[in-house]
Amino acid sequence: MSYILKGETGDWEVVIGLEVHAQVISKAKLFSGASADFGAGPNEHVSFIDAGMPGMLPVINERCVEQAVRTGLGLKAQINKRSVFARKNYFYADLPQGYQISQYDQPIVGEGTLVLDLADGSTRAIGIERLHLEQDAGKSIHDMHGTKSFIDLNRAGVALMEIVSKPDLRSPEEVGAYLKKMRSILRYLGTCDGNMEEGSMRCDANVSVRPVGATELRTRCEIKNVNSVRFVMQAVEYEARRHVDVYESGGKIDQETRLYDSNKGETRTMRSKEMAHDYRYFPDPDLQPLEFDDAFVESIRKTLPELPDDKKARFISAYGLSAYDADVLVSERENGEFFEVVAKGRDAKQAANWVNTNLFAVLNKKGLSIAESPVSAANLGRLLDLIADNTISGRQAKELFEAMVETGKDADVLVSELGLKQMTDTSAIEAAVDQVLAANTEKVEQFRAGKEQVLGWFVGQVMKATQGKANPATCSDLLRKKLAS
């Protein structure tokens, strides 16, 4: 399902590369001991280092290094045991040192891969170019005073991972899938909470177009700091169309940095190429090259969780789930864990079905996470047991589930409280069958004349007569017997 932009002169494809800025989960900042927590009052989490005071020096936070390596391993990427921090020089009021400590030509993580799970169930591998560690800047607030700007340095110095993809993405849909998958992997690893709304994951998109079949890359534009998956997809769609329109009207695209206006649904120039910064990168002389050994990497590798791709493959092979069901279940680590408790020793497809449809419908409606689910995995499993041993019927199960959601009580307790036990007394069901057959002689004749489908109708009637407590299979058996006689 390739994404093609139709134009007057022919068909165009879009080429997209993404830079994801992921805030590292760590207690302290990348080079200072100040807290990296979100939500404190302005300038409450600022050390002398973060404020760029004279004579202050950075010292690397090892926890952030671990997190970067962990993320690199999660992206199946090359880990560089020697990397170098470099200064990226530019002036801005919320950049206290006058430079950002980043990594330039020697990043901590090299090439890796991220697998997209697309809506049609197919997958596609996207190349990761690199991952490097860098400091975040502070925040400038321009709307609190007529002529002054206010600066909050709480974020200044917080560790970010910049994860750069290769220009492998070809549609807004793939962009969305990439960001969702990246978020999922980062959350599995516990290296970033992936929250785009709070800004702990941000994205820049590099977009260009070319005629279908062309292999060379055309001039790209960078769309900065888009703060939701949906907006990135919209921005890419808009930008690709803009490029096609410019080319087709004989114009040319200038390499520039653009902003996406989500209100107007369009991108516009932020900084032209002429105004682009010369960052004058050079190795930071305040820091030694970052070096570690294989043992360090292996100690981190040992603690890696099973990641979404592996888990998906296992769910498909071990439980026989569809790719779609598996995708839904592995998108969040907690979902998969919940499912596996429910599925243990039970019909896994049925378990997946209950989690993916019934449970998620309830959670979505109530705006709850799976950790906050009113129905525990053990209890949902118990419900499946009650279906399996014919204690309750499928219809009763739905009723029971609703009661479990509302009350939070155990399945077994609710079954007796609500009198939901399925009739296992054959004579009682037989009586009901006799009653139904006696009251509907016309239908009995139809059945005997060969209209087999009437049987289903009879089963329904018996179920109705027994308030749904009869086992449908038992009903069916008894009906067949009586009708045959």
Partner: protein, 489 residues
């Protein structure tokens, strides 16, 4: 009381412990000397009340038998070291009224050892200069004057010119300096005192206003080699707050004094004797070689082939780092701010008003050499040459234990000379810069006088972490030279 200012640190230390005089008396004597010699302009900020307070505390510790290694010793702190609650300017207008809420690691160690800070010493703006004429707070005068002829005021060298003048003139017993390309050694030579730049990484740079991070090193400036050894031991040691600070153990430098140089091989680099070398400097160097030979050392001819590239290399690396290090002086958070119509306008106005000409020149050079399209030709190439210069020394130290050279190509010159020719000024550092680029330790010892009666220094270099050998050689030179140190003024 004047005579109290004539003691060396070692002498005063012992006499304080014997309670021959109090730390407060010692401090008062130096405060009086500072008052008498205000004309040197050696201090940017004086802290007499703080000094008296600390001296009294020293006397209490001495009485309690808890004296530190520098208990009660009056020192000057170069105004590049941040000092808690005391204005720190780097001799720049742009740090107007900046008063840190923290104390640099080195000055903290000196405080913890019981020393008494008398004030903050003048320097070249941001330590950029070789004559202390770029200070926003005005030039410093060298206590030495040429015999006969003019009575011109001479420069004290730089950038640690306030420190060198004050130590030489007995305003303080010792002072901290910082050395990026010679800023301790050259002023020491110009004022007839001892200046030591230890191995890069010996002293923490935390809290020292940065000039060129890969070169900056703190060190002591004193009137004797022993005093430098005492002071350096207190100043150095690993600091977790500085990633370039070394974990190497700190030896007792004073303990090696008296061991002499017998059996040591002293390298004499031919590249340090260019055509046109000042004849008096040349002669003193030969004298120094003779003294070491007489003391039992073996003289070895060595070559440091990349020496001629050291100065150009230094003037790429140091400004490059400086251009980035000085970006933080932007008027946003501290120091000078000149309001502007926009953020960029505020930056431009603030930095135009706040930085002096030499600082601006180096920021421009540094920005240029790091710019896209020039980086490889300048900065990257300079880094490669720097590695070759370091290798020169590594190779040389296979053949010798220490290297002897002149410290500076001339004696002190008059304030006003060489002022309009930056390159002539840069040449002052031609003998000191190579060791800075290599990170090895170097010291200047006062070794003789010119015909005009002005001090000349000899420089001793050793391999990294071997300050002990350096001190042994320095002390032998000191003993042989019998340098006529200035008396208390």
């Amino acid at each position: 009381m004047t005579e109290l200012t004539s003691f060396t640190i070692a002498q005063a230390r012992d006499r304080l412990l014997r309670k021959e005089f109090s730390a407060l008396e010692l401090t008062e004597a130096h405060l009086a000397s500072m008052e008498r010699n205000k004309d040197f302009n050696a201090f940017i900020t004086t802290t007499p009340e703080l000094a008296r307070e600390r001296a009294k505390a020293s006397d209490e510790r001495i009485a309690a038998g808890k004296a530190g290694a520098l208990e009660g010793i009056p020192l000057g702190i170069k105004d590049l070291f941040c000092t808690e609650g005391v204005m720190t300017t780097a001799a720049s207008h742009i740090l107007d009224a900046f008063t840190p809420r923290y104390e640099s690691t080195v000055s903290q160690k000196l405080r913890d050892a019981g020393s008494v800070m008398l004030g903050k010493m003048n320097l070249d703006e941001f330590a950029m200069g070789s004559s202390n004429i770029t200070s926003y707070y005005g030039p410093v005068k060298n206590p030495w004057k040429a015999k006969g002829g003019s009575n011109a005021d001479l420069v004290p060298g730089g950038s640690s010119g306030g420190s060198s003048a004050a130590v030489s003139g007995h305003l303080v017993m010792g002072a901290t300096g910082t050395d990026t390309g010679g800023s301790i050694r050259q002023p020491a030579a110009f004022t007839g005192i001892v200046g030591v730049k230890p191995t890069y990484g010996r002293c923490s740079r935390w809290g020292v206003v940065a000039f060129a991070s890969s070169l900056d090193q703190a060190g002591p400036m004193t009137r004797t080699v022993r005093d430098a050894a005492i002071m350096l031991k207190v100043m150095c040691g690993h600091d977790a707050k500085d990633s370039t600070s070394s974990q190497m153990a700190v030896p007792d430098f004073e303990a090696v004094l008296g061991q002499g140089v017998k059996g040591l091989r002293i390298g004499i680099p031919k590249e340090y004797r260019p055509d046109g070398l000042n004849a008096e400097v040349d002669a003193l160097w030969n004298k120094g070689i003779g003294w070491l030979q007489d003391a039992g050392a073996t003289i070895v001819d060595i070559s440091l082939p990349h020496t001629k590239y050291a100065l150009p290399t230094y003037y790429i690396v140091a400004p490059a780092e400086a251009s980035s290090n000085l970006a933080r002086y932007d008027g946003v958070r501290f120091g000078l701010r000149q309001d502007g119509k926009s953020l960029d306008d505020m930056y431009a106005k603030t930095r135009a008003a706040g930085f002096g000409a030499e600082v601006k020149r180096r920021i421009l050079i540094g920005t240029y050499v790091l710019s896209a399209g020039y980086y490889d030709a300048y900065y990257l190439k300079a880094q490669k040459v720097r590695a070759l210069i370091a290798k020169d020394f590594t190779d040389a130290f296979k053949k010798c234990d220490a290297i002897l050279t002149p410290t500076a190509p001339t004696a002190a010159f008059a304030i006003g000379e060489k002022m309009d020719d930056p390159v002539a000024m840069y040449l002052n550092d031609v003998f000191t810069v190579p060791a800075s680029l290599a990170g090895i330790p170097g010291a200047s010892v006062p070794a003789g006088l010119t015909a005009e009666g002005l001090p000349l220094g000899l420089q001793v270099l050793t391999k990294s972490w071997d300050e002990e050998t350096m001190f042994r050689v320095c002390q032998t030179l000191e003993e042989s030279a019998q340098f006529p140190t200035l008396g208390a003024l």
